[in-house]
């Protein structure tokens, strides 16, 4: 229990530090977002107008006051206004989050399936040379740029083979290639860990015991080895979240889909700092939450962690 509380406190501290660093970085910027947007001569604004806008966005107060103000605002879910669209950032996020969540969860599911098939055939495939080839696929997959995968898939599957239409596709048809694009870089690290763990767990003593009891090879692999090998995959859940977010930025841009990733890409192009800051904070919060969940799940699944305090700490 104390362990969980200290983990929670640690997570909160990480988030506070993330906020502080992002705040300091924004302060270091030459000119603020308001100036960048409204000093544009085409807007035809007088210096008085700009001063009033700065008061409205709160960028004229002393820095410690701004820090406390924006921290309290962020805690209450108020991330300020997008200077680009004039809409509250929270609203921008709310409209863009659902499509990205759908894309990311479909991508993750596909990646899990793909990684599973890869690992299974890399360990149990028929010929040693084939197993070696399959075993080296994940290393190849992490070296391929995600945006290039997307473009090449469009060229191959859509234009060459004509399997998926790029012009006026259906709501699900539209998602096939993006999901596949997103799944490839996620599947690679999962497959690598699965392969390593299956080989590692197979050398443990309980494996020959289970075999000696008369279980078939496949049954031992399925019931005993895979279960033990899949658990450590949880440890990279946070890394996978980062990959999913990065993948969403690229995939949504390549396929012209609306979502959080596209919003992040646009906010960089238009220097819409409030929006980007909110996305960074939300992803960091997601990372902290997932690490905490992984801790909880490991405690629930693995009795060794519960009985031995020193292991859990």
């Amino acid at each position: 229990m104390t362990h969980l509380i200290s983990r929670l406190a640690q997570g909160a501290l990480v988030l506070l530090a993330t906020f502080t660093i992002s705040f300091i970085l924004v302060q270091m910027m030459p000119g603020d977002a308001v100036l960048i947007r409204f000093l544009n001569p085409e807007m035809g604004m007088t210096p008085e107008d700009i001063a009033r806008i700065r008061v409205f966005y709160g960028s004229d107060a002393p820095i410690p006051v701004q820090y406390i103000q924006s921290l309290l605002a962020v805690l209450s879910g108020d991330f300020g206004y997008s200077v680009q669209s004039g809409v509250p950032v929270a609203q921008e996020i709310a409209t863009n989050l659902p499509p990205t969540l759908l894309l990311a969860s479909l991508g993750l599911l596909t990646a899990l399936g793909l990684a599973f098939v890869l690992a299974w055939s890399a360990v149990l495939g028929p010929w040693p040379s084939l197993r070696r080839w399959i075993g080296s696929i994940p290393a190849l997959m992490v070296s391929v740029p995600v945006f290039w995968v997307g473009i090449t898939l469009i060229q191959l599957v859509s234009f060459k083979l004509g399997w998926v239409s790029m012009i006026a596709p259906g709501p699900w048809e539209k998602l096939v290639l993006p999901v596949l694009t997103l799944a490839l870089p996620i599947a690679a690290p999962i497959a690598q860990i699965l392969i390593r763990n299956i080989e590692d767990v197979s050398t443990r003593a309980f494996v020959p015991v289970a075999r000696a009891k008369g279980l078939s090879r496949a049954a031992v692999l399925w019931r005993h080895v895979l279960r033990n090998a899949a658990l450590p995959t949880l440890a990279i859940a946070g890394v996978l979240l980062g990959e999913l977010i990065a993948g969403a930025v690229v995939t949504e841009t390549v396929f012209g889909l609306n979502g959080l990733g596209r919003l992040a890409e646009r906010s960089v192009r238009t220097q819409d700092i409030a929006v980007l800051q909110a996305i960074v904070l939300i992803s960091a919060a997601g990372f902290v939450a997932i690490s905490f969940l992984v801790d909880l799940v490991s405690l629930a699944i693995d009795p060794r962690l519960r009985s031995n305090r020193s292991l859990a700490a």
């Binding site: 990480v14 530090a17 290393a139 740029p145 945006f147 290039w148 979240l241 980062g242 980007l276 990372f287």
Partner: protein
């Protein structure tokens, strides 16, 4: 019969061949890296085409005798642009690794050797850096630093700091607790002398291996940011930017996106192979 045999298919016979393939793979990787490095150093020795000014009469030609890898919408030779683009990517990756390695070593050595609250603060800082997805962290830095080759390289380098710092911290802590370092201190060695003579040489190989893998990763990240349009502006030949520009013609001119992608993949794979070979040597 070993335990492994009861479950996994037999491996022993494949082992000698595996060793040969690893070694030839490493040789191939070194050749690829050498070629790309030569492209970056002496691009004009490899192509007679101008990478920026095209021949309008030659526009959008498929790969053939004149343009080996085809030409783009302005009649520029794709191979020439790939060769000249090597300098952008390699310089960027070197800067990124230098930023990550130098700041990461500073933090790692400081945390590992000083200890106390400084160590705790640095470790928490590493946690914070690791909790932000790398691409988002570089995007945030690019908003602040602005667009451009060096800015992108620095932004990618900052995302590598945490990994380097954690690795070096772990190395320093492990070595510091070993008997011979205790002995070096015991026999009157001063702090920095012991650090320099005993702690750092032990950490060098694993740090180099990690740096090689980070180098490949940096090339991948730089090409991604170039593709998104945050790197060097057109008409600079840059691999990611070339793919972004080729996208407009992807229905008809597949060579504009295919070849730059293959070059990126080959370079990243080669850097990773060198990194893994170094790691294997360690074990």
């Amino acid at each position: 019969m070993t335990i492994q045999d009861t479950l996994l298919p037999r491996r022993s016979r494949a082992l000698p061949r595996l060793h040969v393939s690893i070694r030839s793979g490493l040789a191939l990787a070194l050749v690829v890296l050498a070629i790309v490095a030569l492209w970056a150093l002496l691009p004009s020795a490899f192509t007679s085409f101008n990478p920026v000014a095209g021949l309008p009469a030659d526009k959008l030609q498929a790969p053939g005798a004149a343009h080996w890898l085809g030409s783009d919408e302005l009649g520029r030779d794709v191979l020439a642009r790939l060769i000249y683009g090597a300098r952008q990517s390699l310089t960027g990756a070197v800067v990124a690794v230098a930023v990550g390695l130098s700041l990461g070593s500073l933090l790692g050595v400081l945390a590992g050797s000083v200890g106390g609250w400084i160590e705790q603060v640095i470790l928490r800082l590493i946690d914070v850096l690791l909790s932000i997805p790398a691409l988002l962290l570089s995007l945030a830095l690019i908003v602040i630093l602005g667009f451009g080759t060096i800015q992108v390289a620095v932004a990618v380098g900052v995302t590598a700091i945490a990994g380097f710092a954690r690795l070096i911290w772990a190395e320093v802590v492990t070595v510091r607790r070993s008997d011979y370092v205790e002995a070096a201190f015991g026999s009157g060695g001063r702090f920095f002398a012991v650090l320099w003579r005993h702690v750092l040489p032990n950490a060098v190989t694993s740090v180099l291996a990690y740096a090689a893998i980070q180098f490949g990763w940096a090339i991948l990240q730089i090409s991604t940011l170039g593709f998104l349009g945050y790197g060097a502006p057109p008409p600079t030949p840059e691999w990611g930017l070339m793919i972004a520009e080729g996208r407009n013609y992807m229905t008809t001119s597949w060579w504009l996106t295919l070849f730059p992608g293959l070059v990126v993949i080959a370079t990243v794979l080669a850097a990773n192979a060198v990194g893994h070979a170094l790691t294997r040597r360690l074990q």
